[in-house]
Symmetry: C2
Subunit: 277 residues, 2 copies
């Protein structure tokens, strides 16, 4: 792990780091906020997974998580959303696939399978680094995300309910296997057999029996992706059918941007802190 | 005034606007956060002046002012720091002069005087626009800024104590007429007669008799510009000599970045809100 930058912020430390990722076959960058409490005790870890076109930096710059994370004593880890580098295959003109669009899965199809392995990167590689280099209590982890990262948070939680104490999402893609902007990516990363897509789709994971105690989801009503890309009512129906406690809040007038995410960040951090005690 | 973008944020509205500036001879961009209280009443206005290399966007993205401004009912106006456009003269390789480095003055020397008139832009043009287009109580204004913008805030307040109810600064350039990174800019904008520089220098304005009730200044001890560019002790001495109440807080371990600014933003907003009632 190499330090790219570290700066004191809200009494804690906002850092940016890189690691040589075996899973992704490239250097991967990630941001970690360490709260002041970490000087004296192990702190719980909240993962924030970002959306399409983002890097680790968008939420670090615009997410407004540091003030309350410092107060609550939460370590916040913000990974990148895809492999990077000139040697990594890509569709440079397609913002919904390739670099900036890893969809939090391990690709199985050539040429993508050799680098697009974000599930292993975030669920195996990064936790080992966080445990080794930060005052992290890895027995207390939660996950949240925005848009494509909301999809990542929901699917990671449903597949790893023993690891994550809580899960929340801002405007998540709840059914990527049927949404226009994600279906083509799943086909390219995973092949044409749609039965293999189901473990990367929150609603279909629930239909197939995966369970998680409770989700908090915020969704802006002025979000341009609401009707075709996000469709939180599909998650609502899946949770109702499965008996999962979903707190779905339709937030009047909010769009898909970090103006929306930052507005409700405090609520999400409090949701996680309550469940990480 | 044209709307570039508007988005709901923290119950209020974060907007970006442009105006055709007579003073600067170009289109000028600025950001305005309007708190939810503005739907029902006129709200006080806090001006935030940014530092070298910035635009309106840096503090809008990283300043973390919206949550508390929405709670306190403050309109936050964030101007650009210089004229812009291909026709505006510049020294493209010099980050301490020209575009991105207007130094909050009206230039008198050719070729800069035809565009570099940020003092008129911010003290005359923008207030007229804010009064006309927002629910702003122009009888209640305050000013704050960061680095070069801290210089702007201090000098604007000292020259307009009847207009600004309060003034604060993050890591301000307190004596630009003697600091390495600002002296050459003053010479180019204002000419060689240093007596004309004094009204753009907070410490020399005070020495020449300008007064303001009180200043709040935060300064990081790990700020790389502290010793040569910023030197808050010079403001300390000037305020002591003049009987101005300066609250100067040296903040241990903080650098010059928005990690520092955002950490103490709440304190500054509270400082202004108390004085804007």
């Amino acid at each position: 792990m190499k330090i790219v930058s570290e700066a004191k912020a809200h009494g804690g430390r906002q850092g940016v780091y890189t690691t040589s990722s075996q899973a992704c076959g490239c250097d991967m960058t990630f941001a970690v906020f360490t709260p002041p409490q970490a000087k004296e005790q192990l702190c719980p870890v909240v993962w924030y997974l970002s959306g399409l076109t983002c890097t680790h930096a968008n939420v670090m710059d615009k997410g407004e998580y540091r003030r309350l994370a410092a107060e609550l004593g939460l370590i916040i880890v913000c990974p990148d959303v895809s492999p990077r580098g000139d040697h990594v295959p890509d569709e440079p003109d397609n913002w919904q696939f390739g670099k900036g669009a890893g969809f939090y899965l391990d690709a199985t199809e050539a040429p993508w399978a050799s680098h697009y392995r974000m599930e292993t990167h975030i669920l195996e590689e990064l936790p080992a680094l966080i445990a080794a280099h930060f005052a992290a209590d890895m027995g207390r982890q939660s996950v949240m995300g925005h848009s494509m990262g909301g999809h990542g948070a929901l699917t990671f939680a449903l597949k790893n309910p023993e690891r994550f104490k809580s899960c929340s999402a801002f405007a998540p893609i709840v059914q990527p296997s049927t949404a226009d902007w994600s279906r083509p990516a799943l086909a390219k990363y995973l092949g044409d057999d749609e039965s293999l897509w189901r473990r990367h789709d929150a609603t279909l994971l629930i239909a197939d029996g995966a369970r998680f105690d409770a989700f908090l989801v915020d969704q802006g009503t002025a979000d341009g992706f609401l009707e075709t890309g996000l469709r939180p009512w599909l998650l609502g129906q899946a949770c109702t059918d499965a008996g999962i406690a979903l707190t779905l809040r339709m937030q009047e007038g909010y769009d898909h941007s970090y103006n929306f995410v930052s507005t409700f960040m405090d609520d999400h951090l409090a949701w996680h802190a309550e469940r990480l005690v």
